[in-house]
Amino acid sequence: MNTKNEGVISEIERYAIKDGPGIRTVVFLKGCPLKCRWCANPETQKSIYQLMYWPNRCIACKQCILECPNNALSWGNPGIQICRADCASCGACTQICNSQALTMAGQHKTADEIMQIILKDLPYYQTSGGGVTFSGGEAASQGEFLCKLAKECKKHRISTCIETCGYAKWEIFCELLPYIDYFFYDLKIIDEKDHMTYTGVSNKLILDNFSRLIQAKADVTVRIPVIPGINNTQKNVEQTIRFLLEQAPGCPVSLLPYHRLGASKYDKLDMEYTLAELAPPSEKEMFQLKEQFVSFGFPVRIGE
């Protein structure tokens, strides 16, 4: 398999302490086959560059409007308006904007460039048992590039971890297997139709890949984002437990309470956040859910 030399990433976050063991660096790869309604990182969904506008940083100098070669920017209420149809994500406006009110989600980086950043915190990984976590978007959607990065990490004996929705060709996971130490694998909804409604795709591939990973003896932690009224229903909880009892009894489970912290990013991308009124689950609800999984022999953590 030939290896891609460049990938598209949205961000590299250092000192991440809730994305796997120890102190980690998280590489957010852009592009995701799912469109979950609760997605907290909407800027990572598309694999192309996306312009974001931060009105509270803008000083209304309007230089960007003059600079845009496609006339995609105008002054309106509030602040800069982006005509998405005309915007070519060329970045001319972000180059002129000294205030960082216009920023580009997405940049091409070579594996070497990313490794340079990763290696800066090597001593912290070593003392804390940390390493690198590949996240997204869906990291596996840039399968070849991801493999290359994971192999590079292993050359430096850096621990690797992937946060995945599971929606990728099995061949990609198969190739990744020797180079990934921990899989954080999302199981959002078990019912196929519901899954399609809320994420936009069928979950057949996801469930198949999950079973295969377990059979391949990968170190898998199941992650369930707990979205009130959508997947914490009695039906979905029972189906999830039944699926896990069949496929991976005793597998560690992480329950991630829904939060609205990504909501404000939708405006910056001119996207619509359809769960605007939904409240996060209460501590009590989370605890009850945890108890349900625990009673079937699953070790459960909340929030990580």
């Binding site: 976050e13 250092r14 990182n41 000294n98 205030s99 960082q100 800066k120 804390s128 912290l261």
Partner: protein, 807 residues
């Protein structure tokens, strides 16, 4: 030796005592106390014919024999700094001019307010009148050359605290007092005195010195005896049987110590407190520090525990009482100095952990008890410093991080394996270097072997020096000239020219600083020599010299450098934006700075300087290298000049750098105009070596990496780093361990010091209401971290709620 330690619960009665004492101390309305000033002046007048040191010893004794005594209800230790709780004593021998101007302002000033009772106002002014022209400040003003005075006016240097608030920054040889008692020290002085051949002219001063030591320590014994009498009187009148026995125990303690060697842990604490307190009554300076209390009191604790005289909880309780006592020492400073030391801090440092002089793990049960006791009191004093050494047990670092999590900013963590070699490189013996302790904020010294003012010398303002350089050598604010240059930035053609001009100015500033310090040092030596303190500093007695004239084993001094980060960021912006990318001409930038970024394009240019040039604290070699370079060239200059004690006995007599800026970054910023890093005129400078507020955007590892690239092993005076962490980072045991590992890695990479601000919900709420004050607050959002200010209001609320949940 440390094995396993378990925190013990205190009884509700013990907790009640601590709570009560703490509340009484915090709720007191601070006022000015005249008694020290009154009895000191009386002593000076009565012994006007004596040499300075002996006159002061008599005056010191007079204070101790006459100052009003009291024992706080429920307190287990005796001895107070003033005649009422948390009142501030006046030190007229240091400066009085400010009193005439500020006496009626004291209750009204913006911070650090003090009441002046009507009944003392006239007497205080009379005392001040008598001192006019005789004070340390007066002497300094009379002897300082114009060159130094102008540098102070411009704000490139500041030495105000040294002239008005004294020297301090010393750590007594508490071990000697515990072993010998005050009588032992008097005996030592007498033995030396009797052995002097007075026909030898060199011995004249020695005789006066020994006689002064004897007078001072007789005063100490008399003071403790007065407390014994008071405690017995109070016990007689006390109806509560438990309190009666406590008062009798205080009386018994004060009858025995400090006169005799301590026999028990409780006596040891009382004896240490007396010595620590009296050093702060004798001399005006701050940062008198406890040193390694967990080392010198441990043998007493161990023996008492084995023999059933104390328990872990009673020791915790006594130490909590000691910390509340330390909190009771209050400093009043002229407003000019208060701005550099906001919140009337006294910097009484307590050092824990590390290794023994022989190089073994020094953590013991008392180390852990100290940490437990400070988490009970959570006061601003003592200022707790934890030494970190790979030999220390994991449980110790774990406990330190647990205390950090409580959010009062302590303990500050210090890395042994940078500090020890750094001290040795300066000429400190290995055994002594292993035994270092922190004085004041972050400055390592050798307990009982360093002289006064080992730290706290003049402030040097790097950002101001750069501003004057860019302006051609003249300060725009005062119109005074530092060193005349031919060109301003407008005519400079490349970075080399800028750097050469800057280095030249800095070289002149360092020399000026030294000239000023010599004047102040000699004034201190001549006017305010201290016999009491010198009795507990090695080798004063053996050498027959007080600490201020070269009696100490080592003489190494340091003063804070402020605004290094601003200077480095500014030079990086100049290099990148002006000379490399040519987005602005030098002249355009200079005009923009003079206009404080006002005018049509001003704010846009400011943001370009902020966002398009590298900033220190982001692990970017471009600017990190500049920061190291400018600090190294400063050090090269500093190395040229010895201290005033050179050739008079001590090892060293040298100065080294330090970034403990305390709150001086704020007033020093006031004097600095807009800078090329995008900082507006008058805004505070960066604190210590920390990144400038809000410019570190890549998280703590990037900050630590930037710091670790500095020449840390040469910053023997200490390199101060403040990091603010959200409490959610430490909400779980795993999070706690990750912070432990962050600290361990930082020290493994030659980090010097780090302290954490764990932000509370209250702070977040305040941050929401006053965003401008919290520009650097980073919070974890969702799979990423963000600047708190960048979040929308609802998200902020969400995070506030979540943080509370995490705690």
């Amino acid at each position: 030796m440390y094995r396993t330690y378990q925190a013990c619960g205190l009884s509700s009665k013990q907790l009640q005592r601590i709570k009560h004492l703490k509340e009484e101390s915090i709720n007191v309305n601070q006022e000015v106390c005249i008694e020290r000033a009154r009895y000191l002046t009386e002593g000076y007048k009565e012994h006007a014919d004596e040499p300075a040191i002996k006159k002061r010893a008599y005056a010191f004794q007079n204070i101790l024999k006459k100052i009003s005594l009291f024992i706080e209800d429920g307190q287990l230790l005796a001895g107070n700094h003033a005649a009422s709780l948390r009142a501030a004593s006046i030190f007229p021998e240091y400066c009085v001019n400010w009193l005439f101007e500020e006496i009626d302002e004291l209750p009204k000033r913006p911070g650090d307010r003090f009441l002046v009772p009507d009944c003392i106002r006239e007497e205080l002014l009379d005392i001040a009148e008598w001192w006019k022209g005789k004070t340390l400040e007066d002497r300094c003003q009379a002897t300082l050359p114009l060159q130094a005075k102008e540098a102070y006016k411009m704000g490139v240097l500041s030495a105000n605290g040294n002239m008005t608030s004294g020297d301090g920054h010393i750590m007594l040889d508490f071990e000697a007092l515990l072993h010998k008692g005050a009588e032992g020290i008097i005996d030592d002085a007498k033995t030396h005195l009797n052995a002097l051949d007075l026909s030898d002219p060199a011995n004249h001063h020695k005789r006066i010195f020994y006689e002064s030591v004897i007078i001072a320590y007789e005063g100490m014994i008399a003071y403790a005896e007065r407390y014994a009498v008071l405690a017995r009187q109070l016990a007689r009148r006390e109806s509560d049987a438990v309190r009666k026995s406590e008062l009798l125990a205080i009386a018994a303690n004060c009858e025995h110590v400090p006169r005799h060697p301590a026999k028990t842990f409780y006596e040891g604490v009382q004896s240490v407190w007396f010595a620590h307190l009296l050093s702060q009554i004798e001399s005006n300076g701050h940062s008198m520090s406890f040193g390694r209390l967990d080392q010198y009191l441990y043998p007493y604790y161990k023996k008492d525990l084995a023999e059933g005289r104390c328990t872990q909880s009673s020791a915790t309780e006594i130490l909590a009482c000691l910390w509340i006592k330390a909190f009771g020492v209050v400093k009043i400073r002229p407003w000019s100095h208060t701005r550099f030391s906001g919140g009337d801090p006294t910097y009484q440092n307590l050092t824990l952990g590390g290794i023994t002089p022989e190089g073994e793990d020094a953590v013991n049960d008392l180390t852990m008890i100290c940490l437990d006791s400070v988490s009970l009191t959570r006061l601003t004093q003592p200022n707790v410093s934890a030494r970190f050494n790979e030999k220390n047990p994991k449980e110790y670092l774990h406990k330190c991080v647990e205390v950090i999590k409580l959010g009062f900013g302590m303990p500050a963590m210090h890395g042994d394996h940078v500090m020890i070699p750094s001290l040795m490189k300066r000429g400190v013996l290995e055994k002594d270097a292993n035994n270092y302790a922190i004085v004041g904020c972050i400055e390592p010294i050798i307990p009982g072997k360093f002289g006064y003012r080992s730290a706290g010398m003049s402030f040097t303002n790097f950002a101001k020096v750069l501003e004057i350089t860019l302006d051609g050598g003249t300060d725009a604010r005062t119109r005074l000239t530092l060193l005349k240059q031919e060109k301003t930035l407008a005519d400079m053609e490349n970075m080399e020219e800028v750097r050469a001009a800057y280095d030249k100015q800095m070289s002149y500033v360092v020399k000026t600083r030294v000239i000023g310090e010599h004047c102040i040092d000699y004034a201190v030596e001549e006017l305010v020599p201290d016999a009491f303190c010198s009795g507990l500093v090695k080798d004063c007695i053996a050498r027959g010299k007080n600490a201020k004239e070269g009696g100490s084993v080592y003489d190494m001094v340091t003063g804070p450098e402020t605004g290094i980060t601003n200077a480095a960021n500014s030079l990086a912006a100049l290099q990148k934006i002006v000379f490399e990318e040519r987005r602005l001409t030098p002249g355009e930038l200079l005009t923009c700075l003079h206009n404080n970024f006002e005018g049509e394009k001003g704010e846009n240019i400011r943001r370009m300087l902020v966002n398009r040039a590298p900033k220190f604290g982001n692990d970017d070699d471009y600017v990190d290298q500049i920061s190291s370079d400018i600090y190294l060239s400063f050090m090269k200059e500093q190395n040229k000049y010895p201290t005033a004690r050179i050739g008079r006995g001590p090892v060293g007599c040298l100065s080294y750098p330090c970034t403990a800026t305390i709150s001086g970054n704020v007033p020093q910023g006031v004097a600095v105009g807009a800078s090329p890093d995008g900082r507006k005129a008058g805004e505070p400078l960066s604190e210590g070596c920390s990144p400038f507020h809000g410019t570190d955007t890549l998280g703590p590892t990037a900050v630590l990496n930037s710091i670790s690239k500095m020449p840390n092993h040469l910053i023997t005076g200490g390199n101060l780093l403040n990091i603010r962490l959200s409490p959610s980072v430490m909400s779980t045991e795993e999070g706690l361990v990750k912070v432990m590992n962050l600290i361990r890695t930082f020290f493994a990479m030659n980090g010097w010091h780090v302290q954490f601000n764990v932000t509370s919900t209250e702070t977040l709420l305040d941050a929401k209401n006053n965003p401008d004050n919290y520009k650097d607050l980073v919070v974890r959002v969702a799979g990423y971290s963000a600047l708190f200010n960048d979040l929308e209001e609802k998200t902020k609320d969400d995070i506030i709620a979540r943080t509370e949940h995490d705690l």
